[in-house]
């Protein structure tokens, strides 16, 4: 929960709630982009972000995203984050 995971914003979903769709290691997840939204939300599409517990906390470049993902994989934390996302989805359906 402490280390963020990199993702790429691919669409704005609920602008009134500052929500956008991000792709994280092949998994799509809605994230809140309020912390990095300094201009129009559409400007964020295609940008790489560091995601902490569902929030885009920093804009990063693609190289940094790749290096961070590799570091997280080395620590086993990338899979942990993806598992947590799946658990979150399951919780909404009453499971997990």
């Amino acid at each position: 929960m402490c280390l963020g995971i990199p993702g790429q914003i691919i669409a704005v979903t609920q602008p009134e709630k500052m929500m956008a769709l991000a792709e994280v290691s092949g998994v799509r997840r809605e994230v809140n982009v309020a912390p990095v939204a300094t201009g129009p939300l559409d400007d964020l599409i295609g940008k790489w972000i560091l995601i902490h517990v569902g929030f885009a906390m920093a804009l990063i470049d693609e190289d940094e995203a790749a290096a961070t993902l590799e570091a997280l994989r080395g620590l086993g934390e990338a899979q942990e984050a993806l598992d947590a996302m799946a658990a979150g989805d399951a919780a909404l359906e009453g499971g997990s």
């Binding site: 280390l3 997840r29 912390p35 906390m57 290096a67 080395g74 942990e80 947590a84």
Partner: protein, 378 residues
């Protein structure tokens, strides 16, 4: 040096290790009289063990593992209080998965769930918020846990709940801050700390200035670091160079992610929703002044402590640690995990007795996973 081959850039790692050795020699530190560097963040502790950095660097450096693992510093009484809330009629209790196995005095959240409590692991407080929207007849409580990295997420969630006028969503706030316990450790006459590797993602939120007191008031260097092994080696080198040169500054090795003044939107949300508690209890460190946050009165409708009369809203609290558990001594660097009488015996990652064995960011779990064999050989 089998670990060095695992680096993304082994050549760069070896060059940094050579430079580190040169500076340690310049300082005159030895295995018998080492430089003590504390890595504050549990993520860094994990990385140091994963890549064997503590063994790769000159043996004149000793890493002291800091209190930067929120699960590890969580008092057992707080877990008990979570279970008490989860047992209330109509409650859906939600939490980050990391907290599920932390032992309370009687049981963990995982055990309480197995016994029938509606406890659900979520990825984000946004999931808890969505649960509240979908279940208007249930009370959804989220276990707000973590340092400044996760604090914005619950602050934004409370703001959203207030905007939507939800009446069935609350946060059990256990957010804590990094600078306060560092001050306690620096004031501890038994601690010998020569410099710090500062947390990366916490600093992404709060910036680098909250650490100014470490350099200015205590004369110790601190370097905010990234999480790649090369980041850590670079940061250790920067700390050592400051010590060699007689400097004490706050430096930022992770400037590509950490802005000097942090993330203004997140800081504004934190300040809107939270205020410092007069003091907060840390496992192993006791009560520390202004080290925790509580929900401001204007958001009391979303404060689980107020809603359920639990935690710091209750009159009596506080429990002893389990017998033989030395988490406190390990947390303050006074004892190595392997010297705890329960390490690997009564306390393992599968059946943790102390919180430091639960999380992969805890010093004991890191020792157990990566360092057990070599520690036994020492």
């Amino acid at each position: 040096m089998k670990y060095a081959e695992e680096f993304r850039d082994p050549k760069a790692a070896k060059a940094l290790l050579t430079l580190i050795s040169e500076v340690v020699d310049d300082i005159g530190a030895t295995r018998e009289k080492p430089i003590h560097i504390m890595e504050i963040c549990g993520g860094h502790t994990h990385a140091i063990f994963r890549y064997g950095l503590d063994k790769l660097v000159h043996d004149g450096i000793e890493f002291i593992h800091g209190p930067g693992c929120p699960v590890c510093v969580l008092p057992m009484s707080r877990v008990d209080e979570c279970i008490e809330i989860a047992g209330k009629e109509g409650v859906i209790f939600t939490t980050f998965g990391d907290a599920m196995r932390v032992p309370g005095t009687q049981k963990s959240l995982l055990q309480a769930k197995a016994e029938g409590a509606d406890i659900r692991m979520v990825y984000s407080p946004l999931d808890a918020l969505e649960l509240a929207r979908r279940n208007p007849d249930r009370e959804v409580v989220f276990f707000g846990l973590g340092f400044e990295t996760t604090t914005p997420s619950t602050a934004f969630s409370i703001q959203a709940a207030a905007r939507e006028e939800l009446t069935n969503f609350s946060i059990f706030c256990n957010h804590i801050t990094v600078p306060a316990p560092i001050k306690v450790l620096l004031d501890d006459p038994h601690m010998v700390l020569d410099g710090f590797v500062g947390p990366g993602h916490v600093s992404m939120v709060i910036g680098t200035h909250p650490y100014d007191f470490i350099a200015q008031d205590y004369g110790k260097p601190i370097v905010v670091a990234g999480f790649e092994p090369l980041d850590l080696l670079q940061s250790v080198l920067m700390v050592l160079q400051q010590i060699r040169d007689g400097r004490a500054e706050v430096e930022n090795q992770y400037a590509r992610v950490v802005p000097e003044h942090g993330n203004p939107v997140s800081l504004a949300a934190i300040s809107d929703v939270y205020e410092p508690r007069p003091s907060f209890e840390w496992r192993g460190l006791g009560e520390i002044e202004e080290s925790g946050l509580r929900i401001r009165t204007r958001y009391a409708a979303f404060d689980a402590e107020v809603k359920f009369g639990i935690g710091y809203a209750a009159e009596t609290r506080g429990v002893e640690e389990p017998e033989g558990c030395s988490c406190g001594a390990v947390m303050t660097g006074r004892m190595k995990p392997v010297h705890c009488m329960q390490f690997g015996r009564g306390c393992t990652p599968e059946t943790p007795l102390g919180a430091l064995m639960v999380s992969s960011e805890g010093a004991c779990a890191a020792y157990y996973q990566y360092g057990g064999a070599r520690a036994a050989a020492e």
